[in-house]
């Protein structure tokens, strides 16, 4: 199906997520949509698949204008979207999930659906048992299931939003092969990513978005440097790496054994000094979050010990960790990090130590102003956090950390920020390091991990590598280890 979008605009407050995008995607090709975080890729895809509505502009399918006002309408028109996080029902089994969304009849036809499922799965070489519970599948298998379901629903246009996040190399290859097969069957595939290599490997055409606008369209052979320049709008100049690591120990982990819902991390032995930065690399969901939460005191280790400044913290509550100066910034900003309806000042008051019984708001003004300007948050002390844009919320979460801190545990500290803000944020964080704060952070961006860490821990499905010196390691080496190759695991 030929899909054409005309002059699509979508503003969120002052943020121009999509600012007049025109694009024609002929059927039978794999169209890449490339752009850094916050470039407007997801917004555009959500508009095409009916999750949100554009403020203006048209969508045409095979030359006919259509209105896509809900995902169910989209799938009726043949547009199916696979989201970054699988939107399925983990407590149901595979075949029930497969059937979901089929309309028309009161009773589902299990036998026919089952046959159809097995037939589709065979075509793409997937191997999922139809009676398995979805919660027992890997993320990669859940994506495969979702892909089959969309095809079963009659999708002719398939949109995949960052599908390779959190899946193994093998599964990635499987899904890529499936997509190539689909494009041969004359289906339209839209592949959204911010990863250059994947787009170059897979796509017949790449459209690059930047700040809500379409910057250009490229066809193979691709020149990586061109794509980078289009994505960022300029050559990116980076600050020199520098270490603020001291020789004074801050955190010590001994034989740490942590158990999560679907994962365990074993035998972590580590010593981290004041001012040291530890980058956690690995596919999303390989145990980095669990590790950070254990260090924050949110998850109790099964065995082993955590020492902070020489004090044994094992089994202590999260709030006791906080009293030791440990602070944790979760990735889910509005779900866990910030409180809707609260202003920036309210957040500061909430985290500071109580002075008396009643609040004197005035006394916080200068402090809040300082935090806002230090982290370049575009907002006033009385601005409510939900009124801030995503990037500013991210800056605010970091600005609102309680002080003083000894250990910062940051999940994706610069997610959604452009490259300049990222550099700013790290300037600030490195300043904390000079004052003796140790930082643990995870990131999907390998460059970020290599540039700002002193040591890197690579996570691969719960296994943790020995600390690697960040200086001197290459993207390739790191990439292989993330995929589980040449990984030297801690003993």
């Amino acid at each position: 199906m030929n899909i054409q979008i005309e002059n699509i605009r979508k503003y969120f407050g002052d943020v121009r997520a999509n600012d007049g995008i025109d694009l024609v995607i002929p059927s039978g090709i794999i169209q890449g949509i490339l752009g850094e975080n916050g470039a407007g890729k997801s917004t555009l895809m959500k508009i095409i698949s009916g999750f949100i509505q554009a403020d203006s502009g048209r969508i045409l399918l095979n030359g006919k204008p259509v209105s896509v006002s809900s995902p169910s309408e989209a799938i009726q028109l043949g547009i199916g979207m696979m989201h970054q996080d699988p939107m399925d029902f983990p407590s149901l089994n595979v075949i029930d999930n497969f059937l979901l969304g089929q309309g028309g009849k009161i009773l589902p036809d299990y036998r026919a659906s089952r046959e159809r499922f097995l037939e589709l799965q065979k075509k793409f070489g997937f191997r999922i048992h139809p009676d398995q519970l979805v919660e027992s599948l890997t993320i990669g298998e859940r994506q495969q299931l979702e892909l089959l379901r969309l095809l079963f629903m009659g999708a002719n246009v398939l949109i995949l939003d960052e599908p390779t996040t959190g899946i193994s190399t093998e599964q990635k290859e499987k899904i890529f092969a499936a997509l190539k097969k689909l494009s041969k069957d004359n289906k339209t595939v839209i592949f959204v990513s911010h990863k250059l290599e994947e787009v170059e490997e897979l796509c017949d055409r790449v459209a690059v978005l930047r700040q809500g606008k379409l910057v250009g369209i490229k066809e193979p052979p691709y020149k990586t440097s061109d794509l980078v320049r289009m994505m960022f709008g300029k050559e990116v100049k980076l600050t020199e790496r520098r270490s603020c690591k001291s020789e004074i120990p801050r955190v010590r982990l001994e034989n740490l054994y942590i158990e999560g819902t679907r994962m365990e991390i074993q035998d972590v032995n580590l010593e981290v000094c004041k001012g040291e930065v530890i980058g956690l690399a690995g596919m999303e969901g390989s145990g980095q979050q669990l590790f950070l939460r254990a260090l924050a005191g949110l998850v109790r280790p099964v065995s082993g010990d955590i020492f902070i400044d020489g004090r044994r913290m094992t089994g202590k509550s999260y709030h006791e960790f906080q009293r030791m100066g440990v602070d944790y910034v979760p990735a889910a900003r509005l779900e866990e990090g910030l409180i809707r309806g609260f202003s920036l000042t309210d957040h500061v008051i909430l985290t500071e130590t109580q002075k008396g019984f009643f609040i004197n708001k005035e006394s916080y003004q200068t402090n809040v102003q300082r935090k806002i300007s230090e982290f370049n948050v575009h907002g006033k002390p009385e601005t409510l956090v939900e009124e801030l844009s995503g990037g500013n919320q991210q800056r605010a979460s970091l600005a609102l950390l309680r002080e003083p801190h000894s250990v910062l545990l940051l999940e994706h500290p610069t997610r959604g920020l452009d490259i300049e803000s990222t550099i700013d944020i790290w300037e600030k964080l490195k300043m904390y390091c000079r004052e003796g704060t140790s930082i643990f952070f995870n990131s999907a961006d390998l460059e970020e991990i290599m540039r700002y860490s002193d040591h890197i821990l690579v996570f691969f499905s719960g296994r943790v590598s020995v600390p690697l010196r960040a200086e001197g390691i290459s993207v390739d080496q790191l990439g292989q280890m993330i995929g589980g190759k040449n990984l030297e695991v801690m003993k």
Binding site: F12, H319, Y328, E336, I339, D346, L350, T351, Q354, F357
Partner: protein, 349 residues
């Protein structure tokens, strides 16, 4: 223009009140009654005479106390449906203390004082049960409260027909009334005690100030808006939730206690008489603002008192006011949601 208007909070509130009255008028017309006549009767039966106004205030004060307590739990995002049972437990423990001490050589004022303390304790006890079930048992406070309401009701009935029954045979009219000396004295000419007024004012002021300007209030708000983020930010959520329940239980227990020592002078079945549920309606209507709950609670008390007239004068059921109150809440919530949606749209453009 119209959308701008609709997006205003005030316009939507006024529209909601008009819609609720219109809705009730339609119902009255449907059953063949005279709407204006009905409203006139309600007004006459509530604000028509000084004596009636006294009755309205007598119903208003306990409602104000309960609603203030509920403002605390609602602020923390907790639905203390068990408030009705907490009122009943307050009444039970108050009655218990007076029954135990009335024959003893203790000064009656001291007895009443202790009885009120016991009532407050009873409310807090019942509230803390709901809180503990929620915090440690993982049971929604709504269901825990609902269950505890039934238990409290059952305890009252058991006491009235069992251990505390009147000589001879128990009856729905309750336990034996206490002597004059165990009743809070009324203001001359009014059916209200000065103590009830003072306590109500005290509670409104304290709750208002605490929620408005204290660290405790801010933390409760944080919990109510996002308990997970509040915890991550370092708020001791369990302790604060427990305290919110206790404060609400305190207010509810006090209400039950006052019903015994200044209204009924004995324990009667369902002595809470719906004040808890009515308080929840008032709280929702004013979006948990303590000061606004004063006039709204007054309106509700007026309607309740006035509607007692209806069966006698017009052969209408007194539950008409219930319909009015319920539809008022529904329309306010409905129009509030609509107005928010519209104002978001207006803002986006």
């Amino acid at each position: 223009m119209i959308r701008q208007l609709l997006s205003s909070n005030w316009v939507s509130k006024i529209l909601a009140i008009l819609s609720a009255f219109l809705f009730t008028v339609l119902i009255l017309l449907a059953i063949g009654a005279q709407p204006l006549e009905a409203y006139r009767n309600i007004l006459a039966g509530s604000l028509g005479k000084w004596q009636k106004i006294g009755e309205v205030i007598r119903a208003w004060l306990p409602l104000v106390i309960v609603t203030s307590g509920l403002a605390v739990t609602f602020t923390a995002g907790l639905w203390n449906i068990g408030v009705e049972g907490q009122i009943n437990m307050g009444a039970i423990l108050t009655t218990f203390v007076i029954r135990e001490l009335q024959e003893q050589a203790v000064s009656p004022s001291l007895v009443v004082f202790l009885a009120i303390l016991a009532g407050v304790f009873g409310g807090m006890l019942w509230a803390s049960l709901a809180a503990l079930l929620k915090i440690y048992g993982g049971i929604s406070e709504i269901f825990a409260g609902l269950g505890l309401n039934f238990v409290a009701d059952a305890i009252i009935l058991w006491l009235i027909f069992g251990p505390w029954k009147r000589p001879g045979i128990g009856s729905m009219s309750g336990t034996i009334p206490f002597g004059e000396q165990f009743r809070l004295p009324n203001l001359p000419g009014w059916p209200i005690s000065i103590w009830t007024i003072l306590l109500a004012v005290l509670i409104v002021v304290i709750v208002y100030i605490v929620l408005k300007g204290s660290y405790f209030g801010l933390r409760l708000k944080a919990i109510g808006r996002n308990i997970r983020a509040a915890f991550i930010k370092g708020v001791p959520t369990v302790r604060h939730m427990l305290m919110a329940f206790m404060i609400c239980g305190l207010c509810a227990g006090l209400t039950g206690s006052l019903q015994v020592v200044s209204v009924h002078f004995r324990l009667v079945p369902s002595i809470a008489s719906g004040y808890g549920f009515l308080g929840i309606l008032v709280s929702m209507l004013v979006n948990y603002h303590v000061l606004w709950s004063l006039p709204v609670a007054f309106l509700f008390s007026t309607l309740n008192t006035g509607s007692i007239q209806l069966p006698m004068v017009m052969k209408l059921d007194a539950s008409l006011t219930g319909v009015l109150q319920g539809s008022l809440v529904l329309f306010v919530l409905l129009l509030d949601g609509m107005s928010k949606k519209i104002s978001r749209k207006v803002k986006e453009e």
